[in-house]
């Protein structure tokens, strides 16, 4: 029963697992780059959720065909495209911040940075 549910909703399980990993990376890791990696995992887990939610079983890519067919919902994909762009930009900003921080303090360890900035 439980197993069945896990298999039926495996996409949720995956995205939540990824989300937790990402969240841990953002909060738990002290290295700024690892934080950024965590951030990306966190964001992409949500994108996975969107995309998997759009799936229609047996559906095909939403390209107009001659004969009628079942399409998956294209809207979430479009939305996530935008979200990916946002995520990439965030990552870019994050990375350039990390570079600046590294040049300022010579380290990427958060604790050390906090100590140095006192």
């Amino acid at each position: 029963m439980v197993l069945e549910m896990i298999f039926a909703k495996y996409n949720y399980i995956i995205y939540i697992t990824l989300m937790t990993i990402g969240f841990y990376g953002m909060i738990g890791k002290r290295n700024l780059i690892k934080k950024l990696i965590g951030m990306s995992i966190f964001q992409y887990s949500i994108f996975l959720f969107y995309v998997s939610a759009a799936d229609v079983s047996g559906g095909t890519a939403p390209i107009l065909l001659k004969e009628p067919a079942v399409y998956v919902n294209p809207l979430p994909h479009v939305l996530i495209l935008t979200a990916i762009v946002v995520a990439v930009s965030t990552l870019a900003v994050g990375l350039s911040l990390v570079i600046r921080i590294y040049r300022e303090y010579g380290t990427l360890d958060e604790d050390k940075i906090l100590e140095l900035s006192k």
């Binding site: 969240f23 953002m26 700024l32 934080k35 951030m39 966190f42 964001q43 949500i46 959720f49 969107y50 939610a53 979430p76 939305l79 935008t82 979200a83 946002v86 930009s89 965030t90 900003v93 994050g94 911040l97 990390v98 600046r100 921080i101 300022e104 940075i113 900035s117």
Partner: protein
């Protein structure tokens, strides 16, 4: 004819202006700042026109690409939007005048990225406010946040770290909001706010909706720096360039609060978030704790910008308290406090920037004699601070009056006490500055008058004057807000 397109023009002009800035900058770097002023001025004028149109002719709706909502993206303007638009655009406009000298000193030689981002930030915030589509709201939220991270990072040595922490928090918040929106979409199949508000009552029983609400509320609480999710704010405001602190303090958190109001009271019906699920009463308690904690933490600070930042935490609590009490009086007070806090906090941050510009002093105990050195600037500071304390006839008094009355109306005595007690705490941390600025210097030698440059002074004085005028004629904004509030919470 062109007036029909005002909602989209507001945004187009912004993005056009932003991406034209580098080209302007290639001609002459000095032109960037007047360009930003020009663009934000246009946006401000459009916002005023929008408010006028909404008041005269009722709500506006603009369909992007001519697609009828819920299929297309809709820009919907009602009184609440228009009111917040005017505040945001107005603050952006005035700060841009101020920023020329201030940023010229604090961030020299970086005009091009600076003003590009400035316009992006202002446009992003206006976009959040004007859009009638939840996903669009997310996109604009991220656009403006990205610009904000970058702008904050332009500040001093520690700004990069402050910006990084803000980015981590901001991303968590945005992701939560995205997830919440995703749940709403999965449940209803629409992203249009008006459409959602029709479809959501059909699924009020389902627990998934609770998850969605929880995610969105938490996400927006981080964005608005609601205590205890405020941790990013003090660092960010302290280390950002002064003009940027002024801009962010005046607008950015307010936009988050606007989004909260919009989602809670327009998309989801008020009765659901008030009665069925006690989201609002939870928010009020957090807000009340935030009001006190923010004030007390502000008392503990000696860096003037950090003190103002903590005071923001407290003041944001006021707004959310007003919203959370969710009767029409408190709500009016809360929305009015968006206006008053924008006016006074922007003014105060601008003053702190002017002091830094002239003297480089950040420590409030070193401000001795500043009242003689910069009389007009400090006069504006006094007006702003008195308004923060809630002394009549400033605008801070008007909103506090409504908030306290609203709390009384709701029968929540605790909050009445919190609101009133906090004004005393506010008095404590501002009075320290008054004492230092105005008193205890007459024995030392004559202090030379050294006012801030006019381009900084004029916006500062305008803000002080607005604090005062909006306080004396507070019934005008209140009447405007009330029309909207009574429509939502009869």
């Amino acid at each position: 004819m062109i007036t029909d397109h005002l909602p989209i023009l507001l945004i187009i002009i912004g993005f056009f202006g932003a991406f034209f800035t580098p080209i302007i900058g290639m001609i002459r770097k000095k032109l960037c700042s007047p360009w930003a002023t020009f663009i934000t001025m246009l946006q401000f004028l459009i916002s005023l026109l929008l408010l006028y149109n909404v008041l005269a002719a009722g709500n506006l709706s603009y369909w992007l690409g001519g697609w009828q909502p819920p299929w297309g993206i809709e820009y919907a303007v009602d009184i609440l939007n228009a009111f917040v638009l005017v505040i945001v655009a107005g603050v952006c406009f005035l700060v841009s005048i101020y920023s020329r000298k201030s940023l010229g000193l604090e961030v020299p030689g970086k005009e091009i990225p600076l003003y590009t981002l400035y316009i992006v930030l202002s446009t992003g915030m206006l976009g959040i406010v004007i859009t009638g589509d939840v996903f669009n709201l997310y996109v604009f939220l991220e656009i403006s946040s990205l610009a904000a991270y970058a702008l904050i990072a332009l500040g001093g040595r520690q700004s990069a770290m402050a910006s990084f922490n803000y980015m981590i928090m901001g991303t968590i918040s945005a992701s939560f909001i995205l997830l919440g929106i995703g749940y709403l979409y999965v449940m209803t199949g629409t992203l249009n706010m008006a459409d959602l508000s029709i479809l959501l009552p059909g699924i009020y029983g389902r627990p998934v909706l609770l998850v969605a609400i929880a995610l969105i509320v938490v996400g927006l609480s981080i964005k608005t720096a609601l205590y205890p999710l405020h941790t990013w704010l003090p660092d960010a405001y302290t280390h950002a360039p002064s003009a940027i602190s002024a801009l962010l303090a005046g607008t950015f958190t307010k936009v988050g609060i606007y989004a909260l109001i919009r989602v809670m009271f327009t998309v989801i019906s008020p009765s659901y978030v008030i009665e069925t699920v006690p989201v609002m009463s939870m928010l009020t308690w957090l807000a009340a704790i935030g009001i006190l904690a923010g004030s007390i933490l502000a008392i503990a600070q000696y860096d003037i910008k950090r003190m103002l930042a903590y005071s923001s935490v407290s003041q944001i609590g006021y707004i959310i308290l007003g919203v959370g009490l969710a009767n029409n009086i408190a709500m009016t007070g809360g929305i009015l406090h968006i206006l008053s806090h924008s006016l006074m906090k922007t003014g105060l941050f601008m003053v702190s920037g002017a002091i830094i510009y002239r003297t480089g002093i950040k420590n409030i105990y070193q401000l001795k004699g500043m009242g003689k050195k910069m009389p007009y600037t400090m006069g504006a500071f006094v007006v702003g601070a008195l308004s923060m304390i809630g002394i009549p006839p400033t605008v801070g008094f008007a909103s506090k009056f409504y908030l306290a009355w609203g709390a009384l109306e709701a029968g929540k005595w605790v909050f009445v006490i919190v609101i009133l007690l906090s004004s005393l705490l506010t008095a404590v941390y501002f009075w320290r500055i008054f004492e230092n600025v105005y008193f205890g210097v007459h024995e030392t030698e004559e202090i030379k008058k050294d006012e801030a440059p006019l381009s900084m002074l004029i916006p500062i004085v305008i803000f002080a004057a607005l604090v005062f005028l909006a306080g004396i004629f507070a019934s005008i904004p209140i009447e405007v807000i009330k029309i909207w509030v009574i429509g939502v919470l009869p």
